[in-house]
Symmetry: C2
Subunit: 333 residues, 2 copies
């Protein structure tokens, strides 16, 4: 790999002049500039970002830490983040935390070493507090996405869990459902709690009590949905509808229901948070509170880069609204 010095020698200038040509950081004679550029071309010279990062204390690298890149919600979010990052001249590293605090911490430490300029993170849960404090100690800018953390002051891009839940629950109730199960992710994740709160509120509003046996706490994975349904099926008095706190839970639930010979929506309605993108194109089936996941990524990168630039002062919070999409997985009874 050729260096700036190789270019300098061949172009008969100092390294500094080459640096100036690369960065446009100061005037350079037109002729000299052309000569230097020609040599760079000829040598296929690409400046070493490591050396640059060392002196500039900036790497133009961002990191995106999410729970699972195979989840369409995060995939589309990642796409938004990547497009926006690229537009603004940043690259993106990504990692999966698998909803696991330990893995999350490992990643963050790696990122601290990498000297990324900032981090986008969907925290694995409230316990992420400590991990994020580490970032704050080290003054590494970050934005949390999708999940809030109580007591943590930082930039945030969140969905409106209460609104979405109200939309979903009102829909189910309008369809005549009264026994509605709630499949929750870990209660240490803000979205799980808020959606439970919304669930309770809407039931109360309609004079209904929460039946504790219909509230199942599990995890935001496919297997979580399956386990939750196994649990529900042991009840003598089955629910007529299931509200799953995210898309993976819903898919797991439907899969498990099907394996027990139950049909959706004929035997049970199933609705959830977050759409399935491609899947919904293929076969619009699931009734969902869809979130603008692409925008989550875009907005988060914008906040982050503002923060990095130092122009942002107070912490900002962006709340993106969900949209109820009624499809075939829910029906009137």
């Amino acid at each position: 790999m050729s260096t700036i010095l190789d270019v300098a020698r061949l172009a008969n200038v100092s390294a500094m002049t080459v640096s100036r040509v690369i960065n446009g950081s100061a005037r350079v004679n037109e002729q000299t500039r052309l000569r230097v550029q020609e040599v760079m071309q000829q040598l296929q010279f690409y400046p070493n970002s490591n050396a640059r990062g060392l002196v500039l204390k900036e790497t133009r690298l961002l990191a995106l830490l999410i729970s699972d890149i195979t989840n369409p919600f995060f995939t589309t979010l990642a796409r938004g983040a990547e497009d926006e990052a690229k537009r603004l001249g940043y690259r993106l590293i990504f990692g999966n935390s698998d909803e696991n605090i330990g893995k999350e911490k490992e990643y963050l430490e790696m990122l601290l070493s990498t000297r990324v300029d900032g981090v986008l993170i969907a925290p694995s849960g409230d316990d992420s507090f400590e991990n994020l404090q580490l970032l704050q100690n080290k003054e590494l800018p970050f934005v949390i996405i999708d999940r809030d953390i109580p007591g943590l002051s930082c930039d945030k891009v969140l969905g409106d869990s209460l609104l979405g839940t109200h939309q979903i629950m009102e829909h189910l109730i309008a369809q005549g459902h009264r026994r509605i199960a709630y499949l929750s992710g870990s209660k240490h994740i803000s979205t799980s709690r808020l959606r439970l709160q919304g669930y309770t509120e809407v039931l109360a509003k309609h004079g209904l009590q929460v039946d504790p046996s219909l509230v199942v706490e599990t995890n935001y994975k496919l297997s979580g949905g399956q386990e939750a349904v196994q649990h529900l099926l042991q009840l003598t008095n089955l629910p007529t509808a299931i509200f799953a706190a995210n898309n993976f839970l819903a898919v797991g639930a439907i899969k498990e229901l099907r394996e027990h010979g139950l049909r959706v929506p004929d035997d049970l309605s199933v609705v959830c948070f977050d759409d399935l993108d491609l899947l919904s194109d293929l076969n619009p089936f699931l009734t969902v509170a869809a979130q603008p996941s692409y925008d989550f990524g875009v907005k988060a990168v914008e906040l982050l880069i503002d923060r990095i630039g130092g122009s942002a002062t107070d912490h900002r919070q962006i709340v993106l609204p969900p949209q109820l999409i009624i499809r075939r997985s829910s029906r009137s009874i």
Copy 2:
């Protein structure tokens, strides 16, 4: 951010001793080691990868360049690559090329600057040849994934397009289909060509001719599938089945068919390459030649790291077999 020198001062040793503790590169007295580790802990010290990369000429960063992270095939592949990279102590940068040579080139240049240790790339097409030659010039190890490039000698992880196509086509023919359309991606992508070849072979084997009006070349995107179907619907003699060269094409095709009031499989059967993962869990619908996408990622990282380590000599090629999964989108006529 504290440096190795801060640690050295506090621990009353030289920077070199700290470096040795970090890397375990030479003996250090047990007591000294403990003292240094304590100070590192206390200062929350994380070694600067930029400085390290500069002297070691290695960054432990890999890059994954694919056409679109929202495609489940690539998503799962990315997950496999990320898991394996992490296991081997590497981080992963990723980028979307959108099947676009120019964007691909930009990315590769960025990666050259970043001094990544290696690149995993699903080339946007045969024209990627030049882009990859740049990597070869610069002696940056890379592995191409999913798509071959004629005349390029390098490490490769590919699917078996011919086998998969044979499985799919034999299935359709066994179901009585004779007028089968083939929706192709760009013919500058090896998989498009091989699948066309397989398509032709199987038809010939059964004494059938290729009807050119049934072969539609478009692109590997959702919109490609939609456009292709618009084209097909203008024929007076419609096909009874559509074989789409990838999953996005199939989804686009089905979406468009539905918009024209045609049902799958009642009016037309649709089959394709690559599964839809989550989607297939929710609602097993599409008949596909599924490829082990997770393994594509894992194997590619293995090849790449072997290459980086210098232990690999000849270029290697791994071919992963597809698996025909028959579901409801195809039916006997």
